[in-house]
């Protein structure tokens, strides 16, 4: 009987998440976010190229600390994210339902899957080196060991389509990047950024150091090319690059990234066909790793 209630809801002002803080866009501009039926949901900050550069600075500053923490510690932080999300399950279910035009029950199942995905990647932090690393039997009296290391700052274009894209998809692309010790600048799905912006609030209370994850909302055409051409970004996940033409197209972004030889993860051939509920593999974990091989002689 909410019609007759005299109490007015308090609406949330959605903000960016950069460097562990919640700034508005430096532009002072916002854009309307609607549900799948066109009903107004909120005004999201219109992140700009300058906001993107600020986020890269924050992400770079966080690399040393985050990549230097033990894998065990990173695993506990990622697990903490799952714990925090569990308590806000209903909120995210409502946001996902609105974003993807789903019933609340189906949306809640997607949120549950997203929570479990954090748990899945929490378990990978201290195992990826055991699966992707190697002792190498070189033909000589040498100790030779290859271990993976994070590449640095990764720009992530969150998925804009596919079943579960708005939150489960976002988690599916973000968690593997930071699990291995990278830091991330995420461009939220332009039309459905609210779950991503709310995730920032969860990350801020999950022992995740500020700057490890930075979330921007706005036009992908502004944010993506800035990330792709930025000198201080080491990797680029193009999952959410959905424009077929122009500077926001996968080909253009990859070409821009080529100038600094970024590690690029290409988008699916048909992003709209993606089903984010499918069990993940290890591709996303290993895409943004460098293999370091150490030689040392053996001898008296």
């Amino acid at each position: 009987m909410s019609d007759v209630s005299l109490r007015l809801d308090v609406l949330k002002t959605y903000k960016l998440y950069v460097g562990g803080k919640f700034p508005r866009s430096e532009s002072g501009r916002v854009y309307e976010v609607t549900d799948s039926k066109g009903q107004w949901l909120a005004n999201a900050p219109l992140g700009t190229r300058k906001d993107t550069r600020d986020a890269v600075v924050a992400a770079r500053a966080a690399v040393k600390g985050w990549s230097g923490t033990t894998a065990y510690n990173r695993g506990q932080v990622l697990y903490r994210v799952a714990e925090m999300l569990q308590g806000r399950r209903e909120q995210f279910a409502a946001e996902v339902a609105a974003a993807e035009g789903l019933g609340v029950k189906k949306a809640a199942a997607l949120v549950d899957a997203a929570i479990d995905r954090w748990v899945w990647y929490a378990g990978w932090t201290d195992k990826v080196a055991q699966v992707a690393g190697n002792a190498n039997p070189v033909a000589g009296p040498y100790f030779n060991l290859s271990t993976p290391e994070p590449t640095g700052v990764v720009g992530v274009l969150a998925p804009q389509a596919g079943h579960g894209f708005s939150f489960l998809g976002l988690v599916s692309v973000l968690a593997p990047v930071i699990a291995t010790g990278n830091t991330a600048v995420v461009a939220a799905a332009a039309e459905a950024p609210l779950p991503a912006l709310s995730l920032g609030e969860v990350l801020a209370t999950s022992d995740l150091p500020g700057g490890v994850v930075n979330v921007l909302s706005g036009r992908t055409a502004d944010i993506a090319p800035t990330l792709a051409s930025h000198q201080d970004v080491n990797g680029l996940d193009l999952t959410g690059a959905v424009h077929q033409d122009g500077p926001g197209s996968p080909a253009a972004l990859e070409a821009a990234a080529a100038e600094t030889l970024k590690r690029v993860l290409r988008p699916a051939a048909d992003p709209a066909a993606a089903d984010w509920t499918q069990a993940p593999g290890t591709k996303r974990l290993t895409s943004f790793l460098e293999t370091k091989t150490v030689w040392h002689p053996m001898g008296i």
Partner: protein, 500 residues
């Protein structure tokens, strides 16, 4: 530095030992251990149940000789019940998606972290080990072990044992008294992650933290029968490891018992992993940084009163630095604090039992009788309880019993060598092969030596380091199978399913 020396022309007075910087007692409260019942039954099928027999054993605080609790001496019938409960639970548990099993283990890890102080104090009281070690080592390691293997539960396809590897079934696990809760974690975490159910028997001198762990399983909502705890002495252990409906036996303890289990299981289909005794050599080369090496040697043998299967119980020091090194070692040993395990400043706690104290006494007497020179720092020992001074033997030959047999106490035997080849030969001159230590500034010599040592774990310029991500286990008569790391999954996976 130069500036400093100018300013300090006058000699700085040394603080008298036991003077200015004496420690005040810093006791942990025994009450933090939580309620200890006067008597305990077994934990079977998710419930605490009475034994079918009437025999009860007592566990004592080895620092005070006071009885802490009575607990059941498990009968053959008790073991039957526990194995049956584990068998019943196996179908559902192994059929759970790995991601769901993972979440139970993560819950256990978190509850262990939450209840860490209680567990640390309880462990210290029941075992005699210093609270500093239970607090900073045992219990954090327990949580870490569950956390690590939780993550494997849904990633077994990536572990290198082929696609969709299967659990073995019901695992019988028998653990020792030196790291009671940590050994439980080493056993239970990988077993559950891979989809097995378990019956675990803790040691008869240290059952309390295992019984407390049963409560943690309940708090975590673990399905009934997935973990069963049966208490008792070696008779219970023998009934468990010989049980016909057990698919897997994991034992940590002495080499003679491990050997008898291996004999017992010969000709069956039961899978076996053993983590047994050791007589590790700690090799100190002439270029080793002395203070760092001394610290490592002390940690290597006096950690946990020397009740460590991988303890560095043989010091092999290069002849040219022997005198200097032993002097520094004795100086350091003189500062070790022996006493109340609940005092946060204590370095060496109580010997776990009177039986173990007798064994240490017998072997050290043999050391003297065989002609080795014995030295201990002077220190007061408490009037009640089981205690043994940190002890050093020099002039030890390879034939002496104290160089060959596992003492499992705070006793270090010193031998010398002249060349690296001689060091390796002496280090390997033992039926054991659990661990070894190397101390030198030269990296290539570390690797040269490590590649020649027949030991499952080799520490270089460090000692007694453990991590759930790192495999642990022995060569030769120190057992087989590894615990920890990706390799620690194999003992609980049915890799034998493929014959070719």
């Amino acid at each position: 530095m130069a500036k400093n020396t100018k300013k300090t022309d006058a000699p700085v007075a040394q603080a008298p030992r036991g003077g200015l910087f004496t420690y005040a007692p810093a006791p942990e409260s025994p009450a933090a251990a939580g309620d200890i019942a006067t008597s305990y039954g077994h934990f079977i099928g998710g419930e605490f149940v009475d034994s079918s027999g009437s025999e009860a054993l007592k566990t004592v605080n080895p620092a005070t000789e006071q009885v802490l609790a009575e607990f059941a001496q498990g009968t053959g019938e008790d073991v039957d019940r526990a194995v049956a409960a584990a068998r019943r639970a196996f179908a559902d548990w192994s059929a759970l998606p790995g991601s769901e099993r993972a979440k139970y283990l993560f819950r256990i890890a978190r509850i262990v972290q939450e209840r860490s102080r209680e567990l640390a104090v309880l462990e210290s009281i029941d075992n005699g080990k210093p609270i500093r070690e239970t607090r900073d080592f045992d219990v954090p390691m327990v949580a870490a072990w569950f956390f690590y293997y939780a993550g494997w539960a849904d990633k077994l396809d990536y572990a290198g044992y082929g696609p969709n590897p299967k659990p073995v079934g019901v695992a019988a696990q028998v653990i020792p008294w030196n790291f009671p809760l940590m050994m439980l974690a080493w056993k239970i975490a990988p077993a559950l992650a891979t989809g097995n159910t378990v019956v675990l028997k803790p040691a008869e001198t240290t059952p309390l933290t295992a019984l407390r762990f049963a409560e943690i399983c309940r708090q975590a909502g673990l399905p009934k029968g997935v973990v069963n705890i049966v208490t008792g002495d070696g008779r219970t252990g023998a009934a468990l490891t010989a049980h016909p409906d057990v698919d897997k036996v994991a034992f940590t303890g002495s080499t003679p018992v491990g050997r008898s289990i291996a004999r017992q299981l010969a000709g069956t289909r039961t899978k076996l992993s053993l983590e047994l005794g050791g007589k590790a050599a700690n090799i100190v080369f002439d270029d080793a940084p002395i203070d760092q090496a001394v610290e490592g040697i002390v940690n290597g043998i006096f950690f946990n009163q020397g009740h460590v299967c991988c303890a560095g119980s043989r010091l092999l020091v290069q002849e040219s630095v022997q005198d200097e090194f032993l002097e520094a070692l004795k100086r350091r040993m003189s500062t070790l604090r022996v006493g109340d395990p609940l005092d946060k400043n204590t370095d060496i706690g109580a010997i776990n039992s009177s039986a173990q104290l007798s064994r240490i006494t017998e072997l050290t007497d043999a050391g003297e009788a065989e002609g080795a020179e014995r030295w201990s720092p002077s220190c007061d020992l408490p009037g009640t309880g089981y205690w043994f001074r940190p002890t050093l033997f020099t002039g030890v030959s390879q034939a002496h019993r104290i160089a060959r047999e596992e003492i499992f106490g705070p006793v270090l035997s010193v031998l010398t060598f002249r060349t690296p080849a001689e060091a390796v030969e002496k280090a390997n001159n033992t039926p054991y092969g659990l661990s070894a230590g190397i101390w030198t500034e030269k990296g290539s010599r570390i690797l040269w030596t490590a590649s020649r040592l027949k030991a499952g774990v080799v520490w270089a310029n460090t000692f007694n380091k453990f991590d759930p991500a790192s495999p642990f286990g022995g060569y030769k008569e120190s057992g087989y199978g590894r615990e920890g790391g990706r390799h620690g999954l194999e003992p609980y996976l049915n890799v034998e399913a493929r014959d070719v």
